[in-house]
Each structure stands twice: as C-alpha cells, then as structure tokens.
C-alpha cells in the first residue's frame, strides 16, 4: 500500500487546470492496514499528503453563505482555511484555524465532523462533503512538522487572574484565549499529566499523546501555568480560589464518574469501567509494561458493553492488547451513538458486534475472576424519550458469551468533586452545573463552567465551543464589560442527529 493512494479516476494533484470540481471525488485518507494496526498502538489514519490536501481543498465551491461555519461549535472560518490549503499556503491555513481553534490537530482527529461542519457542506447535498476534518488535521500536522509557527501574540498584561479547574479540552481552550488577551491563567489539574480526556481517554491510535503534549506546550509558551497533581475540591474550594485573589474561576472538570450496569457479578476481577481500562492503557501506559509499572491487562476475550465512541475505543484497545474483542449493545446499529468511522474501523480490525443484546449477569470462577457474561436478546419496541426505539427483552433468550474481561462503557456522570464543595453552585438533578448557555456563567458570580460538567458527557469540540463562549464572558466580567478581541462566536447550530 502506498503512502498516498488516490481513488480511481481522480485527478492527480494540483497540476490539473481547474476541472469541473464536482467530478473530483472526496479524497480518502490513507490508513494503516487493519491487520497490522490491531496489534499495536500506531495511529490509524496517516493523514493527507500535500498533493491530496490540495486536491481535496479544491473541491470546496466557496459558497456565498457558508453553512459549514454554522456547523462548527467554534466557528472556524472554514472556507478561508480550505482555500488557503487549495492555494498551497499551508502555514497560513494553519494560522487561520488557530484564530478560532486552539487545538486543530486534536479536533481534526476526534471531532464528529460528519454531524457538524461536513453535515452542512453544500457539496454533501449532491456529492460527498469536503473533508474539512482531514484538511484541518493536515494543516495542523503540517505546521507541527515544519515548525516555524510564530508564537501567538499576547496582549499586554491586564493584571487579572483566572483559575481554570481541569486541563481538559475546555480548560485548555479557556486558558489559551484568556492568556492571549493578557490575563494571568493558572490551570489546576488533578491527574499527573494535563490533557484530561485527551490523555486518559482517547487512545494513542486515535490521538497520539505527543500531539496533546505539543498543544499543552504551546499553552505554556503563552504563559499559562499548569499545576498538576492538584485536586481542587480536596485542596482549595472554588470560594477559596476567589478569596485568594483569582478574579474569576472556570470549572471544566468533565464527566469522569463512571456508570456501572448494576447487574450481579460486576465486582469480579476483570470487570473494568471504560475509564479505568482506558486510563490504565492510555495515561498509565499499561501496554508498555514492564517499562511502565502499571500492571498489564492481558485479555483473551474482552466484551465491551455500550455503543458510544468510548465503547469503540475500549473494544479496539482490547483488541490491541491481544484479545478477541466483542461489543455488546442493547439497541441496533442505527441507534449506536458512536461515529460511523469508529464503528467501521472497529469492524475492519475484527471487533465482533452483538447488537440488540443486553447483559444480565457476569459469571466468575472460584477466585472471583470473570469467566463470561450472560446476555439477553432484545428487540426494538416503541420510541422512547430520546426518540430512539426502546429495546425490549425477548423472554427466555438468555445466552452466555465466554470472556475474561468485561469493559463497561455505558457513560459517565459529571465529576462531583467541585460541585460537592461549592454549595452555592446551581446543580441539575443529573449532577451537571447550571450555566447560562450564552455566557457559561454559573449561579455564582465570577464562576463560569463549560464542557461535560455542564452538558453531560459530550464531545471534545462542544466542550471547546462552550469554553470559547466562557472565555469571552470571563474577559467581559473582569474587564467591566469590555469585549475581547476577535469575533464573538455565534451559538453553534449543530443539527440534530
């Protein structure tokens, strides 16, 4: 397999005089062979070459009214950066991206573009949408590889101090914007490495950790102080931070409380929450044992329960640790919340899907180690509150899947540490923090929040979108209502699924 396969019939690169653009198909991105990648943690897609990127970027028809921007939670000027790529001005394209998105290399990889920008692309109505995500990744990788990215300019110091709780996607975004506008920003991170879900959750083969740390370093270059190993809520409370001289506080502590199934046998050895499983492998590098001390997980047959992106990450990680990997999901393929691409990658690599199947009991041996999972077959009934057809158990359809590892990936609740210790913070019954969607201000003056702690478990980019809004409100709050530089973001119009 070559490095830059071009789909059959496509024009070879930019030498071609502008053809009728619609004829050029969406450029595929070369990927590692599934047989190889399921045995290691190398990144799966290899990224566009310069030639392919230009071909793909040239597919953009530069609509007068670019809907794609509306689909982007952080309002990137998509047509502009795509056009810059089409003209071969890669670094300029990257700088354009950077204006609105502090983490383009990350978002180019993990955003669900097919439901956001690309879902709005006019090209997609008749043909296939422009591969905005792949182009974003291309520009970001180009800048990183070629270097020479000018350090972002910092406005003169305002003398204002902001505490950011959590160094995940929301915290990083808020910190980046505020630091750029001249504020002093301190991020408090509970774990030993910054990055949040980008470090502990999303696997290496989907988002190399080097990229996350590169972005974190950029943040440090902006003067942001990142204090790791600091558990706000167990150390200072939000009130104390405000008292200690922070002018504003941003809470971006995410959804880090794993949910379990509540079925018998769930505390057997070999049952993991997806959080534990992924943290052990991604953050703690259990796959690099014994260089890293974290005990390796050596599954022979792993069952992942759930149908979201985290479930796909878990199942594909289990595969890479040497397991036969099975997904058990109680609804059907259509209802799966995971990105189509992730499901496809999982299938390619050999993940087996047991759909319309619900676990009822985890079986274990005399030493309490998992030996299998009893499941029940389901069928789809009437639609439920989410609009999806409710799965109904088929009586007497119990069967057992043998396994030594079960990964429970049915979602996360918001992390209660900060809300618990800030009694006057408005909390919903789901445990999320109440924030005004237009300002991300909480019920507590000077305290803002964004990301999964507000929205419940969602995507990296939606957290970043909220963080962008919060950054502007924090600036205004501290600077007596003055607007920060740059375009105020419009609220994203993410279409319903």
């Amino acid at each position: 397999m070559g490095e830059q396969p071009v789909e059959k019939g496509s024009a070879p690169a930019a030498v071609q005089p502008k053809p009728r653009k619609a004829r050029v198909p969406r450029q595929p991105m070369p990927e590692r062979d599934p047989r190889r990648r399921r045995t290691n943690f190398e990144e799966v897609p290899k990224g566009y070459s310069e030639e392919t990127a230009i071909v793909e970027a040239s597919r953009c028809i530069k609509c007068k009214k670019p809907f794609c921007i509306l689909g982007c939670p952080v309002n990137i000027d998509i047509p502009k950066f795509v056009d810059l790529i089409a003209q071969g001005q890669f670094m300029e394209a990257f700088l354009k991206l950077k204006e609105q998105n502090s983490l383009p290399a990350v978002c180019g990889r993990v955003c669900p573009q097919e439901t956001q920008c690309e879902a709005q692309c006019v090209m997609g109505k008749k043909y296939e949408p422009v591969a905005i995500g792949r182009l974003e990744r291309f520009a970001a990788d180009y800048a990183q590889v070629h270097g020479g990215v000018p350090d972002p300019e910092r406005a003169p110091s305002t003398g204002k101090r902001v505490a950011v709780i959590g160094a995940g996607p929301a915290g990083i975004t808020v910190a980046g914007d505020l630091a750029q506008w001249g504020h002093e920003v301190v991020i408090f991170e509970a774990l030993h490495l910054p990055g949040g879900v980008l470090m502990y959750g999303i696997p290496q083969f989907r988002l190399p950790k080097e990229i996350v740390q590169y972005e974190i370093n950029n943040l440090r270059k902006l003067g942001v102080r990142i204090i790791t190993d600091h558990v706000i809520g167990k150390t200072e409370t939000v009130d104390q931070l405000l008292k200690e001289g922070f002018d504003a506080v941003f809470i971006g502590t995410g959804a880090g409380l794993p949910m379990f199934l509540g079925i018998p046998g769930e505390n057997a050895i070999g049952v993991y929450s997806a959080n534990e499983f992924l943290t052990r492998v991604n953050l703690m590098r259990a796959y690099d044992f014994p260089r890293y001390a974290t005990a390796p997980i050596r599954p022979r047959h792993a069952i992942t329960v759930g149908g979201g992106n985290v479930a796909m990450d878990s199942a594909r990680t289990a595969l890479r640790l040497g397991a036969q990997s099975t997904i058990v999901y109680r609804r059907s393929r259509v209802e799966m919340p995971a990105r189509a691409e992730e499901v496809h990658h999982g299938e390619e690599e050999g993940v087996v899907f047991h759909l319309l199947t619900n676990p009822t009991r985890i079986l274990s041996d005399a030493t309490n180690r998992v030996t299998g999972m009893e499941c029940l077959k389901m069928e789809l009934g009437e639609p439920d509150a989410s609009g999806r057809r409710r799965p109904v158990p088929i009586k007497g359809s119990e069967f057992v899947i043998p396994a030594d590892t079960v990964i429970v990936s049915i979602g996360n609740m918001p992390n209660p540490l900060v809300p618990q210790t800030s009694p006057d913070l408005g909390i919903t019954r789901h445990g999320t923090i109440v924030a005004n969607p237009e300002t991300m201000a909480t019920s507590k003056p000077g305290v803002f929040a964004g990301g999964d702690i507000v929205s419940g478990a969602a995507t990296v980019i939606s957290a970043m979108g909220q963080a962008k809004i919060a950054a502007r409100s924090i600036h205004k709050f501290m600077m007596d209502g003055a607007e920060p530089p740059g375009q105020p973001p419009t609220l994203p119009q993410t279409p319903a699924r």
């Binding site: 558990v231 929450s273 943290t279 030493t367």
Partner: protein, 839 residues
C-alpha cells in the same frame, strides 16, 4: 568396603564402613533433625540439631560428624535430646525472624493469604519467598513452635540487592555454612566465607566486595542450597515453589550444560544445576539469564509478512505461503543461515532444507554474530549480492548484507535488524520451549526438554522448517514430531569450543545468542560489561516534583517519608490519603497520611516495601524528588466526641491511626491505642502514639511484648476487663481489619476500617477501587476509604486486591541496582562494618 552393624533406637542397622551415624540412621529410615547437613556436602557440625546419645560416649555428639562404629548403640530420641535440640533451635531462631511460627493467627492468616507477601526485607515467614521450602520452619513445626520463646534479635544488615540476579538478606542467615561450603566444593576457592566474629559473624565476600568482583561465577549453588530465605534468585523467588523440575540441556552456548529446568505451570522460572559438583555447575547465563530470555516481553509472537512496505501480522498459512513464494522467486540464489544454538533436529532440518532447495548453507556459532558466519565464501557472496534470498534464524546478517538481499525469511525469537528488514518473520519457540537433542562441544548428545509454553503463536523451528518446505512443495519433510527427525541425523559435527568456559568466570560469559545481544534482553548482564545495543535512557530522575525531605527505615521494611507537598499539607485531615508516583513511569499508588505540617508544607507517610511502587519510593534518598504527589484524597475520618475509642493499628496502620487518635483526643474522647506487630522490634512511633492517647496497648504475634496476639486480643482483653468501648477503628492489612471487625461484631461495637483496594486515579474517576459495603458498591477513594467494618464484603476485597498478583511479581525490577535503603547505610552501619540494632 566392609559392612558394619550398629543399633539405632533399638534397631539393628547395617551400613558401609566409613558412614556417619547420621547417614546410617537416614539409610535405615530414621529421621534425625538437621539443617547444616546436606547430602552433597561433607559433615560440618554447625547447627548441632543432629545430636544423639551414644552408649559409652560422653555428652551429645553430633551424628553428622560421628563415624558409625561396629556395635555402637545410638539413641536419636529422648526427653533430654528434645530439650537440647529445642534450645538449639531457639537460639538459631533468635537470629532469624520467626514471628509467624508462634503466631496464634498463623493458620487463619496463611489460609487467607496462601502465598507469602513479596517484601523488600523479610521480617516473618509471611513475607519470605522461601516460606514453603524453609528447613527451619519444618523443624520448628516438628518441635511444637509454641515452646520456642526466645524473641528475634534482628541483625539489621543491609539488604544486598546491588549484584545481578541475586538478592541477599543476611538478617535471615543462621550460619549453617552450606553456601560457602558448596561454593568451596564446586569452585575450589570459595567466593564467600564467614566473616567477622561472634555476634557479628556473617557470610560475605573478601573485603566486602561486590559479588561481581569477588570471583563469584554466579552459578547459583549457594541460593539453591540455602535452607532459609537468605539467598534468593531475584527473578524466580516470588513465583513460589516450582511445580516441576525437568532435566534438560542449556543451548545458550556450545558447552551444552545439563540443567534442571524449574517451572511454575507453563512458565520457566529458573535453571538449576543437576547436581552440586564442579563438573555440573552452571554459568550466570544458564542459571539466571536463560529464563529471562525465554520470558522476554519483546519476544516475537505473530507471523508477519511484508505488504506494501509494512510488516503485517498474518496467519501462519499466509506467512508460510508468502515465504515459499518469495523464496521460489529467487530459486538458485538462496542461502540458509542458521545459528548453532538450536537443537540437532532443528539444525538437521535447516541443512536438509538447504539441500532440497539447492541452497547454500551457512552456520554461525551460537554465541556469535554475522562476523562469524561460515563458510567465508558465503559471506563474500552475501556481500556481493550473489545471494538474493536468505532464510535466517537470528540477528546473523549485517547491515550491508541486508541492503543487498531481495528476500529474507527470518525465523527467530527476538526482534532485530534482520527481522525488521525481512519480508516474512516467523516467530520461533526456542530454548525450553523446544524438544530435541543437543550435541555439545565435547561431542556428547544430550536431551533438550520442552517444559514451558511458547509465547503467542510461536512454533518450534523444526516445525516451521517442515511447514516451509512443504509449502514449497518439497517432499521428505513429513515429520510429526522432533523425535522422528533424530534417527535421520547420522553425522553431526560438534560445535566449536569457546575459548574459555563461562562456568569458570564471569569474564568468560558470551554476550550473544543467535546474534542478539543478551544484555539487551537481560539488562542485569550489563553488570558483567557484556555488550549491548545503545538504548535510550529508560527513566530520568524527576527534575521537578516533590522534594523528599526525610527518609528513614523506622523498623525493618517500614519506611517513613517526609515529603514537601505544599498543596496537600494545609488541607490534610485525619483518615485521608495521597497518591504517590516515584517516577513518571510509576503506578499511582495510594498511601495513608500519617502526619502533615501546614506551615512547612510537608506531609509524612509510612510505606511498607511490598512491590515495585513502594520499592521505587523507598529507594529514593533524602533530597531526591518524587515525581508526583496528589491529595489529600478520600473522605476524612468523622471526628466527633463519642466517649471511649479504641484505635487498632498494625504494620503501616500504626502510622495511619496516629492522626486519627490525635484528632479524636483533641475532640475530647478517651483514646486507647492498640498497636500490633509481628515482634517487638517491628513496633514504631510508640512515643508519638503515647502523646496522642490515654493508653497505649501493645500486642505482638510472637509474644515478645505485650499481649500475645493482635489488636483483636487487646480488644477482647479490654472487654473482659469490663472497659467500656464506644467505637473501634482498625487500620492495617486486610486480614487484620477483618479479624478486628469480626472480634467487635458480637459486642455490637461500631467498627471503622480504612480499606486498601487497588486504585488508579484516586479521585473517583475509574472505579478500580470498588468495594461492596452492605451490599452496595462503593468507591474506596471517593466514598471511603473509611467504612463500617461489619458491612464490608471482605472476601471480595481480598480477591480484588489480588487481581494483579502475578503481574506484580513480573513488575519487580530485575536490574542490578545500588540499594538505597537508607538506615542501613547512613545511620546504623558502624565503623566495624556492622549494623547496629535499631532502638
């Protein structure tokens, strides 16, 4: 030689002339207890356990040194002998940690923990890797241990972990002299001997040099003959007693020494010499490195085939098919390059394949690399590009040759430049995974036994070659087993001798196996200056991080660490814990806070060395930095005025109850602290405890001080004395907390325990630490760690704590290291080279 006849215990016994009384008795099936005696050693008379009564002989001669004489009347059992032997045993035990032997909870404890806990310093049988094979333990049980009442005088010698492969803890040594005697017997001049005198007599090298410099050949005989846990094989020690011992042959070098392969299940854990003699001794590679090569994590486990520039994992059939096709493409200019480190059967098939293909055959001595390829012409042809394709079974082709070749089929066990450049890689089962025979340099043909499971999909080489031949349509390779190949081998040359036998000196150790540098796989070999590929520095000391202000081993194996952690200290509360990571590569390990100083910004923890994480931490020296300290974590202990409180602490728990006692006392409670340890020399922080409680009660498992037993016995004593107890707190090992909870339950006294399950993040994010309390799942890190001891599902907790027992053994560092166990070196090592007993 004539026979003589004597009477032992009233029985007429006939033995060969020249035998000792002990031998005569043993032959007659009469058991006389002994420790220093060994069938492969000449009589020594050190332990004095084998004393007997002989008519007409004054006193109690040692049967091991007394020659049997005609007409002798010997008694091996009498009340007096029993008393004398028990006194002897007591004296021996006073210099050997023995608390478990006389512990009233031993049986329950050992049932609860069927495997000894791995520990840095062995302070009792439960922490001893030799527990199940200990001769003293056997004797003590035979002698009714409760009658042995002399407490342990702990010697406080340094742990010796600075040499490759061997761990030595002379605090367990009873001076039986087996080790130096076997060393002398095998090597003529022993590398070790008894040094110093009287109380300070111990085993050591001349001038206290490291064993690497002492002339020690690392044959391991001293470890294998040691009756106690003093000398241990670092790699094998915690796997427990081997489940099988199989005679086999080491094929790492042409010496082809006989070995006894020790396996635990399907895993090879060690090789041992088949008999203790100079003719059968082993070198460091055969004895120690061999199992680490077999069990190397980097072993090749899947067949790979190159597609589109990348090596892709494929199934065996596709790999063999691809290899066959690729080789046929270069028919006529193929070579087979094989290392001699394989069985004869493997070598025969390589040669046969070469013959059938009309290919050239090159061989490389098992301890050499590409430079030693023979014949010379083949080397030239490989360089010139005359040969297009090669089947090769090791790192046996140099860079320039690799560049010349069109097609490479690598049949190997470890990755190398060759396998990286190959078109097809076939993973091979090697050494103890492959059955066959081996002809050594002396010309002997010896059996090689398959005793361990090969990793992943690896297959034996004869089978790979057979299948490859069949895939190429060659006939004459229809073998079902290696034994069917053996008769075909009519003449096979013995491999060339090494210039110097590695058995005689570590300076003679070969550095390569199949062209691979052994030190790449077995890092300890770097201590012998064996060559290795340049490797990246694995771990850097934390540049920033948290300064270690103070570190001392307060009692054996229990370390106090005072750490600068200004973000933790001001917020710490009793009952909370911190997560520590010594290095960036460490696990996140939780430790209960013992003390803190908000002003100084420091925290104190007590760490018991039991595994890699704690070892990494306690190996740091004062002034070093701990990579990460996170906390305070967990829900603080509820401090209320309740009346009379009993706080029970054991092991690290003594430190853990200290801040709770202080706070409860300040809140106006009557605080009784009950602390337990295996022996009185393991009790610590007593004066600190006294300052925060109204009454300090002590229990020891060996009865050396206070109540004989544990905190539950103290509790029972209090209740029997009519003391009112309003609530009870127990912190220590899971077993102790469970026993304490069970003791208080009948009295309905509320009992709190601080649970210690495996944790990862410690902030409630992962659920690794879930425990069942009152039938509900709780996260110990976020909901605890303090729970109602009467509602905890202890069995579940026990199982969950042992989830990674095996991996934890694998994780222990195998590298030779400078032991940095603070107190022994800095504080208590006197000018005479001896350690002083800790107060």
């Amino acid at each position: 030689m004539g026979k003589i006849s004597l009477t032992i215990d009233g029985r007429r016994v006939e033995v060969d002339e020249g035998r000792t009384v002990l031998e005569a008795a043993t032959e007659a099936g009469i058991t006389i207890p002994t420790i220093c005696d060994h069938k492969d050693l000449s009589p020594f008379g050190a332990c004095r356990m084998c004393i007997v009564e002989i008519d007409g002989v004054r006193g109690f001669p040692t049967s091991c040194t007394t020659p049997a004489a005609p007409g002798m009347v010997v008694r091996t059992q009498s009340e007096e002998l029993r008393t004398l032997r028990n006194r002897t045993l007591e004296l021996m035990l006073s210099g050997h940690p023995n608390g478990c032997l006389v512990c009233v909870h031993r049986e329950a404890c050992e049932k609860y923990r069927p495997r000894p806990t791995k520990a840095g310093r062995t302070t009792r049988c439960g922490f001893c890797s030799n527990r199940d094979e200990c001769n003293i333990r056997t004797l003590a049980f035979a002698a009714k241990p409760q009658e042995l009442a002399i407490p342990t005088l702990y010697s406080s010698y340094n742990l010796e972990r600075g040499d490759p492969f061997m761990d030595r803890d002379y605090n367990l040594c009873i001076l039986c002299g087996r080790c130096w005697r076997i060393c002398e017997k095998i090597h003529g001049v022993p590398a070790i001997s008894i040094i110093n005198r009287g109380k300070w007599a111990r085993i050591g090298t001349a001038f206290d040099k490291s064993h690497v410099e002492s002339g020690c050949t690392f044959c391991g005989a001293c470890i294998d003959i040691c009756p106690t846990g003093t000398l241990a094989d670092r790699y094998a020690r915690w796997y427990g007693r081997p489940t099988a011992e199989t005679p086999s042959t080491c094929t790492l070098c042409p010496e082809g020494c006989s070995v006894l392969a020790l396996t635990e299940g399907q895993k090879l854990i060690a090789n041992r010499m088949i008999a203790f003699s100079s003719q059968t001794s082993l070198c460091a590679l055969g004895r120690f490195a061999y199992p680490q090569v077999v069990n190397a994590p980097e072993r090749l486990t899947r067949p790979l085939a190159r597609e589109g520039g990348e090596l892709i994992p494929v199934d065996w059939e596709s790999a063999l098919h691809a290899a066959a096709e690729g080789l046929q493409g270069s028919a006529g200019s193929v070579a087979v390059v094989a290392s001699e480190s394989t069985t004869r059967e493997d070598r025969h098939l390589y040669a046969k394949l070469a013959g059938a293909l009309g290919a050239r055959l090159g061989t490389v001595p098992s301890v050499s690399g590409p430079e030693a390829l023979e014949p010379e012409e083949l080397k030239a042809d490989l360089h010139s590009g005359k040969i297009e394709a090669v089947i090769v079974n090791g790192d046996l082709l140099d860079e320039s040759t690799l560049g010349q070749l069109k097609y490479i089929v690598a049949i190997d066990c470890l990755p190398s430049n060759v396998s990286e450049a190959a078109q097809v890689v076939l993973p091979a089962a090697v050494l103890s995974e492959s059955q066959g025979t081996y002809r050594n340099a002396a010309g002997e043909v010896k059996p090689v036994a398959a005793v361990s499971a090969s990793p992943g999909e690896a297959r034996t080489e004869w089978r790979i070659v057979r299948d490859l031949a069949q895939a190429m349509g060659l006939s004459g390779f229809e073998y079902a087993a290696a034994s069917e190949i053996t008769p075909e081998i009519t003449s096979d040359a013995a491999p060339g001798r090494l210039s110097a036998n590695p058995r005689f000196s570590v300076n003679n150790l070969p550095g390569r196996f199949r062209g691979h540098y052994l030190a790449d796989t077995v890092r300890s070999l770097e201590a012998f200056e064996l060559p290795a590929s340049p490797h990246k520095l694995l771990e850097q000391a934390a540049a920033d991080g948290f300064a270690l202000l103070e570190k001392r081993e307060v009692v054996p194996n229990m370390h106090l660490l005072k750490i600068k952690a200004p973000q933790v200290a001001p917020y710490a509360k009793p009952g909370q814990f911190v997560i520590l990571m010594a290095k960036e590569t460490s696990e996140r390990a939780p430790f209960t806070l013992v003390d803190w100083d908000a002003e100084q910004g420091s925290i104190t923890v007590i760490i018991e060395e039991v595994g890699r994480s704690s070892r990494e931490l306690v190996s740091l020296r004062p002034g070093a930095r701990i990579a990460h300290v996170s906390g305070p974590l967990g829900v603080p202990f509820p401090i209320e005025k309740k009346g009379t409180v009993v706080l029970g602490g054991g092991c690290y728990g003594i430190g853990a109850i200290y801040p709770i006692a202080r706070a409860l006392k300040e809140a106006g409670n009557e605080v009784i602290c009950a602390i337990e340890a295996c022996g009185d020399y393991l009790l610590y922080m007593e004066s600190e405890m006294r300052s925060v409680c109204d009454d300090l009660l002590v229990a020891t498992k060996d009865g050396s001080r206070g109540v004989h037993g544990g905190v539950q016995e103290i509790f029972k004593g209090l209740v029997e004395a009519g003391r009112r107890v309003d609530f009870f707190v127990a912190i220590g090992c899971t077993f102790m907390m469970r026993m304490a909870s069970e003791a208080t339950q009948p009295f309905g006294i509320p009992t709190y325990v601080a649970l210690n399950p495996i944790m990862v993040d410690g902030t409630g994010m992962c659920g690794a630490c879930r425990v069942s309390v009152d039938g509900k799942t709780k996260f110990a890190c976020a909901d605890g760690p303090i729970f109602d001891g009467h509602s905890v599902d202890w069995d579940e907790l026990f199982f969950r704590r042992s989830a990674y027992a095996r991996e934890e053994i694998e994780a222990l560092p195998q590298m030779a290291e400078i032991t940095a166990s603070g107190w022994q070196q800095a504080e208590s090592r006197g000018s005479d080279g001896c350690s002083l007993r800790q107060e």
